[in-house]
Symmetry: C2
């Protein structure tokens, strides 16, 4: 771990100027140095293991070469996929990814300033999850650097990238209807969150499309976690009449819902079909394996990186779709993964 070689070390050793080394190594096409000189420079650089110093470049170019990603909870498999997509895209673009945690940034102003205000990143991706503090923080970040919300509608004037949640919900409910279900309940996430609203819209759309009515007592929204799903399912199982199928707006919530059905002695899928939006590796191994609708969460991360890097994430002009409704990533489309938690309703088998 000796001192890292600098450009001037290479220059000295190759007996040319620092400027020339910089130009040659950066592939400047206007360089006309003799081929053997160029080769020597490359050789010396390789020999010394020269690597441009990131901070020096960043300072000189006023470009950090890094992107920030803020998520709410790494352990959430949905967030993990977003991280993975962003991470891969950033790396492919020669950028480095800085990971941060939304609750922490909300609690620690220094941490927020450190991430957003010091020029360490050229752009910020913020995974939206409808928390109260999100709006203010995101708006503050957007004032300082290109920012894009991920998996959320636009908030506080900040452009957003989202998935086709409505289509995903529609597809899921359509599946239940095709199986013969007419009594389909809805379990959402946090009330008022845009994700739950859009999925609810898809649920309602599919029901209406088949002349099925929406029953308020079959609609329950609590929170984006498994305990909430547990409570929601318990509530639905007590409803009269009881639905024969439940559409759950989120796979994490569905894990809790499934557990509640099991504890209540209600067999899934025999007595109750359950389907959820988003896939996670472990639900394929559950009892029963959960039928889900997969959305391209990794592309969401990747696309956010692209936008940031292409400069489209700057202060959006009024009327820009990204800031108005959010850019919807409709490709690849939602995909139905039929597993063991859905089947025909009891009377129809």
């Amino acid at each position: 771990m000796s001192r890292r070689p600098s450009l001037s070390d290479v220059a000295k050793r190759a007996e040319v100027s620092v400027s020339l080394v910089s130009r040659i190594l950066s592939g400047d096409a206007t360089v006309r140095a003799r081929p053997e000189t160029q080769q020597r420079v490359h050789e010396v650089a390789a020999e010394l293991g020269y690597q441009p110093h990131g901070a020096a470049r960043a300072l000189r170019l006023s470009r950090a070469g890094a992107l920030g990603l803020v998520v709410h909870e790494v352990s959430n498999p949905i967030h993990a996929e977003i991280i993975r997509g962003a991470q891969a895209a950033a790396t492919a673009a020669g950028q480095v990814l800085l990971l941060s945690d939304a609750p922490e940034l909300a609690a620690n102003a220094d941490a927020f300033a450190q991430l957003v205000g010091t020029g360490r990143i050229d752009g910020l991706m913020w995974q939206g999850s409808g928390e109260d503090y999100d709006d203010e923080l995101v708006a503050r970040a957007a004032r300082q650097l290109p920012t894009v919300l991920v998996n959320s509608r636009p908030r506080a004037g900040v452009p957003a990238l989202r998935l086709d949640d409505e289509a995903a919900a529609w597809l899921a409910v359509e599946h239940l209807i095709e199986l013969g279900h007419r009594h389909i309940a809805y379990v959402g996430g946090r009330p008022g969150a845009d994700l739950t609203e859009r999925r609810y819209a898809g649920y309602v759309g599919a029901l209406r499309d088949h002349d099925l009515s929406v029953r308020p007592e079959w609609t329950v929204e609590r929170e984006w976690d498994a305990p909430a799903g547990h409570a929601a399912m318990a509530q639905l199982l007590a409803a009269d009449p009881r639905p024969t199928a439940v559409f759950v707006a989120n796979v994490v919530v569905a894990v809790g819902a499934l557990a509640a059905a099991r504890e209540a002695g209600v067999a899934v899928p025999e007595q109750l079909s359950v389907i959820a939006v988003h896939d996670a590796w472990f639900v394929a191994h559950g009892a029963p394996p959960l039928t889900t609708v997969r959305l391209p969460l990794d592309r969401l991360g990747a696309e956010a990186v692209q936008r940031l890097l292409s400069g489209e994430a700057g202060p959006a002009p009024a009327g820009d779709p990204a800031t108005e409704r959010g850019i919807v990533l409709a490709d690849p489309p939602p995909k139905l993964l039929v597993r063991g938690s859905t089947t025909r309703p009891e009377g129809m088998r």
Copy 2:
């Protein structure tokens, strides 16, 4: 998003020198400027929203103020917990966390160089998982900056932080024995991986401690994923005699093992008890809820940050325990979480 204010902007506005502003804002105790001057500087800085430029500081101080963390798979709940711990500790220390992906770094030399060779980070944490490429990459990184392996034994002379895997395994098997089991099988991870070896040692230790013999046909090691757990369980269920309990070295593997038992019509825990090392939120909601042994994975990440920041992670002196056997984080100790997948063996109920 106008140009960020620099120290000289603050200096001009406060009518003092740049040096003095720097000293005042950094809390230099030798500063004797008039209190009102100091206050004015602070006010102007706040007014302008001054934040020191990260790259400039990094260049000047030859310190990036950032740490790198390399993991093998973000979607793995075990890795997620390590990330969380490292992330929180880094933030608390005023450092920023750079996340990268081991398989990607193995495949993309530029990405590796970008992360390790450009001075962007002051230290690197590498989550070990026994991949072939790990050794070379980690050794290469360690030649360039302070590096510490996380959740692994030392490799290639690089110091390591690990958990008390043997104690965790021992505790798990001990639990099975206390329930009355005498026929206990072992499902590991990738053969030869140090994690599986240490957990196997705990398994063997607990058995021997109770004068139970270790049967080779009840020991199966495949891979660290759910399909491997599935295959391993299928193999054990075909064994003659069949074990009454299975200790699984990893919760992800256990998810697959549980599914295999279910598919084979073997009731857990009635006909077969299953216990695993490491906890994950979703296994508490499974059927049955999985009994696990929790280890402080988040502390592993946090402790790695501490070591890197305290400078103890430099080139280790020969005979250093961190490089010889690895530092074991024994506190808090492994914790048994008894849930629904373990019970007394059939004959004893």
